[in-house]
Symmetry: C2
Subunit: 200 residues, 2 copies
Amino acid sequence: MINEQNKHKSKMQKYKKAVDKGISKASKNKNLVIVLTGNGKGKSTSAFGMVMRSLGYGHKVGIIQFIKGQQKTGEEIYISKYHPEVFLYQMNTGFTWNSQDKDNDIKAAENTWQKAKDLLQNPKIDLVVLDEITYMLNYKYLDTQDVIHAIQNRPANQSVILTGRMACQELTNIADTVSIIQDEKHAFKSGIKARKGIDL
Amino acid sequence: MINEQNKHKSKMQKYKKAVDKGISKASKNKNLVIVLTGNGKGKSTSAFGMVMRSLGYGHKVGIIQFIKGQQKTGEEIYISKYHPEVFLYQMNTGFTWNSQDKDNDIKAAENTWQKAKDLLQNPKIDLVVLDEITYMLNYKYLDTQDVIHAIQNRPANQSVILTGRMACQELTNIADTVSIIQDEKHAFKSGIKARKGIDL
């Protein structure tokens, strides 16, 4: 028993050494570009988790949602109720398969991008979330180079999170962190309704 | 131009039909077991995003964190500052490679599991987060069957989110949704320090 304890201890000591080495190597202080992509559930959710963390530290946050259904989401209700100081702007045309009007969608995307650009030039904002922006680039509603340029020239104290399926190479190239979220199982596919507080 | 608009419209109409069909098929009303696993960044973050959504709807939330470093995280600061009504319990032994004491870790895991069990029997709680619980099962610090049984016998109005790497088959079997998060790129690996409000 004591032997087993010692074995465990020495194994964990070795592991700790490796963890500590990794931590000591990570010495660069730099704000991040994070891309959350993939077909799975939890990209925007994860972005909102980081918003929560940032607010915990008293950081200033701006959120732009490029695709938004008509229905209010939990995070939207939450932010407006508890954090009216967070700048939250939504494109509000709904999904493009709902609006079915391309010219109008492009105009809305461009207007929304102006708001995003303002945030990306504002050194008072520590965290910018560009939710579902990948679609705007993939549909060519926004100019990719223009978006890349604005992100790369943002204030040094600012981190940016970009979400959406199929993030293009140009985005992942400039990202410090790229997380891919895949569904192994999805309740929706087995006929379970989207749940308030979980999906919505 | 008008022709292109019409083409876009008809394509989007078709797409909307498919989306609507999916939504109408998803008619079961059921609370969920969600597993967030994989080696990538964003599992706990995503769970906290769902906590935010749930709080937006005024749901009651309980969070149990099975692995916790010594350092306070943004979400912890956030919850205690803005939502003291959320039940948040942390095992507080730190990572097992820091404590290096297996007996002590097992005792701590069992005590923490008691708190989790209380939540899983409490119909006043709408959402239970069991953060990093997969490690407790993989290390055999907790009995998998005991955990499965408690989750399956929870109140009907309750959803449960389980996070951590390498979720075992028993967990994914009872889950309604399993999301796998993989890193394609991770800032930490290219020498960038963990950032407050993003990683912490």
